[in-house]
Amino acid sequence: MTMILGTGVFFDGATSERQEVAVELAPATLRIRSQSGDLLAEWSYAEIEQIVSPDAVLRVGPHGVDSLARLEIRDPAFAAALDELATTVDRTGAMQRRGRSKLAVLIVAATASFAFLALVALPALATRLTPFIPFALERKIGQAADAELRAAIGSDVPGLPLDCGGGQAEREGQAALQSLVNRLAAAAGVTMPVKVGVLRRSEANAIALPGGQIYVFHGLIAAADTPDELAGAIAHEIGHVIQRDGMKAIMEAAGLSFLFGILLGDFVGGGAVVVAARSVLESSYSRETEAAADSYAVAVMNMAGRDADALGRILARVGDMHGSAPEILLEHPATEDRIAAIHALAAPPTTSPLLTSGEWAALKQICAGMLAMVSRRFSDEPTSLLAIWARRLALFSLVAAILSIVIVRSGLLEIVPALATFAAALIFALAAILLAFAAFVAIWREGIDGFRHALAALAIGGALLAYPVYLGIAAYRLPAIVDVTTDPGDAPQFETIARLRPRGANPVTYAGGAVGELQRAAYPGVAPLIVTTSPQQTYEAALAVITKRRWFVVDARPPQAGRREGRIEAVARTFFMGFREDVAVRVRPDGDGARLDVRSASRYGPYDFGSNAARIEQLIVDIDELLGLQTSEKKMPVRRVPQRPGPAAPARR
């Protein structure tokens, strides 16, 4: 096998000197020699590594060793020869991609194990570790949680504090509540202090904080028919306190936020994920935790000798009239399963009620004055979700469409993403219309509110779609031509415009042939303007009309008799989107008068929705009119009959 010879630039890794070298590609090794023939380096092909560099340069160095010696080859043929010999040189990037996909598999596996850690290992760890946390520490954390709770929720009655029980009239009820809790605690044999307070909130709910503080929302007291129902709910919360569920949840949240925060890093701004993850975690205890608290409550009620089934009854009742706020007692869902489980464990009552009827009446007086609000909250007539979504979707598509038009017109971004936005907006408008119809059906059948929303959605969606639909019909009826001219045989050329057209636009040369035939069939009105005025006059009229229309004139050369034809090149913009469409006008002498030809072409896309033909027709009518005005004093017929049948039809726009 012969040796291939070439040249390159060599850096030896010891100094920054740039050496022009001769390179020999031997069968097994690559040899680098100085101009005087000394051997500077010899690398086997297996140990060569390619290093990222601009396209025109192939840069290689020895792989794996801590050497920075580099060889740069600029001759493409010689670089290809080296590529052929050295399997490690990877100009196409295929090897790198293969290595990367292996890495990706490994990383995905790592991710899966991380998910396992977060979803399984962390909760298990929190459960194991919680018993070792001193109760004093838990109470401290509970105080912090209390402050946070108060920051998150406020009193439902403006002007009154969140905590109930402060008033003279409530003292008796407060005492009754405490005696209820004391009896439960005594029955359960709870040793740690359990405090209970009532919050001025209308939700039927109760919360247990870490450290033994229980809050009953006033809505729960209002919803309870008997002392046993309230007692069952409180016993459930005592269960959470005893099992230290709040502490477990906080441990889990802390661990999760730490894991997420550290792993996600700067690229995604991990902090907010932490918050999101925490809120997901804190929003509810798991089904198992809840079931455990339920069975604890049943056991306590059985020990107290009262009706444990009451818990199931109040669950069923408040489950039916769910409010909107966070529902910590009953967020858990499969309420029916819970009720069934409670029923299976409950024993019939054996002792007298926990509270006397007088005590119970007093307890009911805590936070008095909120009932009216509670009942009003659940009586509103529901609004059709479909209608609301239909209107939102319609508004959204409107905003998106306007924005995409602004972006295209301002020319600040590439055209493709902007058009994609516009297309998406139209799709959303269509979806809004469909949803609105579905909403009409729902409103008709269920008698719910939301008719106005649906109607608004229909109107906005319809308004947005009307014009594109009209264009679509136009495109369907018209042939796919974007280049229209009055003279398909010898179309005016784009000379200056050719340089203005961006890459990726439609071609500048007129296609001729079949396109001309298609055009003649579709737009018979597109014909040259043949007038009796001189070429100079005609040219000036054309330029005046174009200037008046504020097209951007890029080139204008007046005709010179016998030497050259007049030509104007200009860029027009479409009305809505401001797309650029190129126009060329050519004026030639024709007998005594002149002949004016026009060509108009869109820059992008296969359809012009007839805009080019309309533009040409309108332009010719306007020029004709202007010439007629100028020459009317001389009473001369300006326009002569064109050669082809079919005079210029009045343009539509």
Binding site: E17, R18, V52, P54, G93, W389
Partner: protein, 426 residues
Amino acid sequence: MTGLEAAAPAAADSAPGSGAIRFFGRERPYWRLLIRGAFLLLLTLGIYRFWLTTDIRRFLWGNTEIAGNNLEYTGTGLELLVGFLFAVAILVPLYVLFFLAALDLGLLGELSGLLAFILLALLSQFAIYRARRYRLSRTVYRGVRFHQEGSAWRYAFYALFWWTVVLLTAGLAYPWAQAALERLKMRNTFFGNLAGRFEGSALSLFLRGVPMWLAVVGPFLAGIVAGFYTIDWPALAKAFEESGSGLGDRVESTNPEYAYAFIFITAAFIWAAVAAAVLYPVFQALVLRWWSSGLRFGSVTVTSHLRTGPVYRAYFRFLLYGILFTIVIAAIVWAAFALVDFLTGAAAEEENGELTVGILLVIGYMSIALGYSTIYQATVKFALWRLGMEAATLSGIDALDHVTAAGKPSSALGEGLVDALQVGGY
């Protein structure tokens, strides 16, 4: 990333004698690299970032040509991962310690917050210096690597001092802080055996920047001062403490000029915020130009002619792409929620439904954050690198021909700390 994908077709054949800096990276492959990286980040919950960072640097370095020769980035993703794991091993016990200290009431608990803040600030500066050391020692030019010496702790204390001064002077000392820190960094920076230094004049940066300071910080300070003097704070606090309705009346009676003061302060703050947003690109261009023009290596000097217009354009593009992206994401989120609504219907309180919404939220958040970060990388960061490089010219480049290699590659611990502490950088 290979050369084929990365670089422009333009030939790198400029005469070695010219001191021009050119950048051959095209935007399209860069977008592709970032978008693919974003998907992998999403899939791997962010672990891929070490490899993405490496790819980005390889692309930017490899396509930058200084006086006819390319830069080269020799770092690897694995190095960054190892550095990060070391950083975590250092930070976890520290965090646990601070958590426990914060729970303890009394003096230790009170002080622990402040102490943690100072220690983390120090550690951040330490990390920035060490990360710079790693990046420099992985930067190779003409077969010779850069390196950085000097104690990172010394830099950390020095930087903490200067940032405190900057804070106390409401930013007026920023030019002197920058110049001092940059001098310290560049004094310890070497290309082979060629020592670097920094000759930017703090005064000239100050004189150019002070109009901007007046436009942004001036009104802000005026608002604070006005608030301090015109509002009777104890009375206001008392008015808020009294519960019940009629808060507005009580505020009115205790602070008769409250409304005017409030309007003035709000206007001052809004003005400051708007001016800051509008002037930020100008400021960035100014600092970048000043910084590059002050760089020296032996007899090699750098001059930068960076203009402000293109920097603005980069931010504007970021804004527009950001808006487009927001629209797309909003559409997807709406569709997702509508789907959840319809699928679960009235029984939306299903535990699974709640969990689905939670997971959707997290994924949605991550996609949004990744999207913006990708757009920012591809518009602003890319443009700043390209403009900063192309605007600079070198003179006295003969000194680059006879540099002897020196310095060793250093560990990526600093990069790991920077990552874990989230103090950022290229």
